[in-house]
């Protein structure tokens, strides 16, 4: 009884220290998205390469696709760009680029300079679709399954290793699910 009384402050301190350590190692920018396991918000937006044609969520039903939010003004998009190019080479998944609050000429020259990993890019000039997807920090990447449900959201640039460890296993799993 006596011993417990003296040990108590130490135990409390250790518990507190553990909680603070967890708090320090978490990324405050990583806010859980309420959209996981919800249907991807519908859109119909002009295609960057052919602005007179639109792409809608309906066109993507039945396939697993990534929605990568990017912009020519976005610095960390450059960082993840080579990784997206590598992913595109594997030809395993449709990559839709959501060109967020950007100008078409700037976006086009960006793709020409750095290469185009996107199956198709669509223009969200006023950021409305961005709001629907809860976008708050470009780049962001969503993984959407064959039924049009968001299964994963990645905030910030895709890092080396993320493709192999997160995206590819998930895409392979989703590809096996029935449409």
């Amino acid at each position: 009884m006596f011993k417990l009384k003296f040990l108590l402050p130490l135990i409390l301190f250790i518990v507190l220290a553990i909680f603070l350590a967890i708090g320090l190692s978490l990324n405050p920018k990583d806010i859980p998205s309420p959209l996981i396991d919800k249907p991807a918000p519908a859109f119909s937006l002009p295609i960057l390469a052919t602005p007179d044609k639109n792409l809608s969520t309906q066109d993507l039903k039945g396939r697993v696709w990534l929605l990568n939010v990017w912009a020519s003004w976005c610095v960390s998009c450059r960082q993840e760009h080579p990784l997206l190019l590598e992913l595109a080479k594997l030809n395993l998944v449709t990559i839709v680029g959501l060109n967020y609050k950007d100008e078409a000429p700037a976006a086009n020259s960006w793709l020409q300079q750095l290469g185009n990993p996107y199956t198709v890019s669509i223009m969200d000039k006023d950021g409305r679709v961005g709001i629907d997807y809860g976008v708050y920090g470009v780049p962001e990447t969503f993984v959407i399954d064959k039924r049009g449900v968001i299964r994963y959201k990645h905030t910030g640039p895709v890092m080396p290793g993320d493709i192999e460890q997160i995206f590819l296993p998930l895409v392979q799993k989703l590809n096996q699910e029935p449409a």
């Binding site: 405050p28 920018k29 806010i31 859980p32 998205s33 309420p34 961005g130 629907d132 809860g134 708050y136």
Partner: protein, 152 residues
């Protein structure tokens, strides 16, 4: 001196002039709702500011969104639902009380309660220890000493 004063005052006035874009409302109730909402919604880019305080691009877009929804006749709750569906509970400075946010709301009172109970128990413990009971011999001695003191 006057010039210096003017300079100081104009420096102080700066935050006001750096404010946000102006939205025209016909209905004062809607304007009030707008002000309420933008000072309740968190800017997710600069997480310790409301969208009323923030100059971030996203905050501007969200203010525009709030404005348009109110003009379309949506209620404050509609706007709150719209935002939490997209950005999660974190977008509200005072999130709704749910199972997930329960700890956030009840945590401080729980800690206060634990503190009060601890203090109460410690105090009671001390009081119990302070009440020393004397046996008969000690009691008569005590009475003797007290009596002697009075006689002196």
């Amino acid at each position: 001196m006057k010039k210096v004063l003017l300079l100081v005052l104009s420096l102080l006035a700066f935050p006001l002039s750096a404010g946000v874009e102006y939205h025209q409302f016909d209905d004062p109730n809607k304007e009030q709702a707008y002000q309420n909402l933008i000072s309740e919604l968190r800017c997710l880019v600069c997480q310790n500011q409301t969208i009323a305080d923030s100059n971030a691009d996203l905050a501007k877009d969200l203010r525009q969104q709030v404005y348009e929804m109110l003009q379309q006749g949506k209620s404050q709750q509609d706007v709150v639902d719209f935002m939490t569906q997209r950005y999660g509970d974190f977008v509200m400075y005072r999130p709704a009380f749910t199972l997930k946010t329960g700890l956030l709301w009840l945590g401080p009172s729980a800690f206060l309660l634990i503190g009060v109970i601890t203090v109460f128990m410690l105090a009671r413990n001390k009081k119990a220890k302070a009440q020393i009971t004397l046996d008969k011999q000690q009691q008569t001695r005590l009475n003797d000493i007290l009596q002697k003191g009075e006689e002196d």
